[in-house]
Symmetry: C2
Subunit: 261 residues, 2 copies
């Protein structure tokens, strides 16, 4: 038997504020939407503060009761004020943010490792999709520079399709420091560039790679570029000027994964 | 010397209506934003009806004068009512839609050909990105089924980054008929599936391929699936449940392109 709790005005308001970045940052919480993503959150080691469900959203609640997470019943209208999607699935999770220090990660990486760093990627869909793709290809960690779109942005969270809860993601990364730490742990620093890099198909992935993808319009920043050991380029066969950064990441991560086998 | 025309209230209104699908369909025109996309349109064989520029947007106008296209000066506010982006570049093109019959295309395809069909892909960013990626990898034609998002949707147009004007795109495709025509021209019908297809890396692309990508949530429709000659799957190394359809298309089109060399 599921027991729904009543939600107070004040509590509802505090959750609604999590649609805004500044409140997510001061509160250290964020909103997760979508059945799949919420299931992944529930079965992960992330801390769920609460589930908010409408009458429609009851289907997956067993997970919540199983984990003794408070479940609040809300109206469709109340849920809508927190939802970023046109047609929500009638359920929202409030989840605690995680602060992960990258320094611990470098040391614990396997001998064969691939880490991905996003340097100023600004489109939420791109960041979310790259996290999802990294999860598919078994990437060991994803690092987001300070000037990337915020990880807990609702569209980023949604685009990860639950992969946010699968792989280590380090936020607010100070790029130069991370690159130095990576290099001292024998990571080869690789940037993806549109032109004049080593052709991907001719590149032999090293034991440990840190692959950096840059901003949609400007690419990787100049100081990152100058720090790189290798630049790689996806071969072009037609006439588009460039590839979307998510697509480029997909192809390169595919290539690294199959080359490791 | 550039001569700006004055725009009448009525004409401005008729262009503003092109932000809505139903007017795009009755008028047979659409809006193009962004300097890069507009340059590609201007140097293509698509018919530009007009350019609308603000004082900021003057930088690329030489193209317009060169092609004797009417250029209207509008205010920032007027432009904003037609723009889909937060910060437009001060210029918009009104372009005539093209109706392309696929039947002519099959016959004119080269001996080695790759065509892409989208079957019910509903996210504008995905459709636009797949067109852009197809252009990068030299795909010969892109076919959009009737139940895809509309090609002339402003976000689709923007996401193609000008590739819309580079490669043949057939809209409102009646899927079954197109598949039969393709097969009679010796195209092998290939669908991309999340599980249990032939592993991509073990697949040898045929001389002529029609690759079909399905809806974000439901994949390709059952009758398309049953029509397919081959199903292919991108190998998985981690724990994401699936890949974004744009990413899957990127990896598969990359694979087909490098296999052809």
């Amino acid at each position: 038997m599921i027991r729904f709790k009543n939600i107070s005005r004040a509590q509802l308001k505090s959750y609604q504020k999590l649609t805004q970045k500044k409140y997510r940052q001061t509160e250290g919480k964020f909103i997760v939407e979508g059945e799949r993503s919420i299931k992944e959150a529930l079965t992960s080691d992330w801390e769920i503060e609460a589930l908010l469900v409408t009458e429609r959203g009851g289907a997956i609640i067993e997970y919540g009761t199983f984990k003794h997470i408070p479940i609040y019943q809300v109206s469709e209208k109340e849920l809508e004020t927190m939802s970023d999607t046109v047609s929500s699935q009638g359920i929202i999770a409030i989840v605690n943010q995680k602060k992960v220090s990258i320094s611990n990660y470098w040391k614990n990486m396997p001998a064969h490792a691939v880490a991905v760093m996003l340097d100023g990627v600004s489109d939420p869909g791109n960041v979310g999709t790259i996290i999802r793709t990294s999860d598919w290809f078994g990437v060991d960690a994803v690092l987001l520079s300070r000037n990337c779109v915020e990880l807990y942005n609702q569209k980023v969270v949604r685009s990860t399709m639950g992969s946010l809860f699968h792989i280590p993601i380090v936020t607010e990364v100070e790029v130069k420091q991370a690159l130095e730490e990576a290099r001292s742990e024998n990571f080869v620093i690789i940037t993806a560039v549109v032109n004049d890099g080593v052709t991907l198909t001719e590149f032999n992935p090293p034991e440990r790679s840190l692959i950096i993808f840059g901003n949609e319009a400007h690419g990787v920043s100049p100081d990152v570029e100058s720090f790189a050991d290798v630049k790689i380029t996806i071969p072009k066969f037609g006439s588009a000027e460039s590839l979307n950064v998510g697509i480029a990441a997909g192809i390169i991560l595919y290539y690294f994964a199959i080359s490791r086998v």
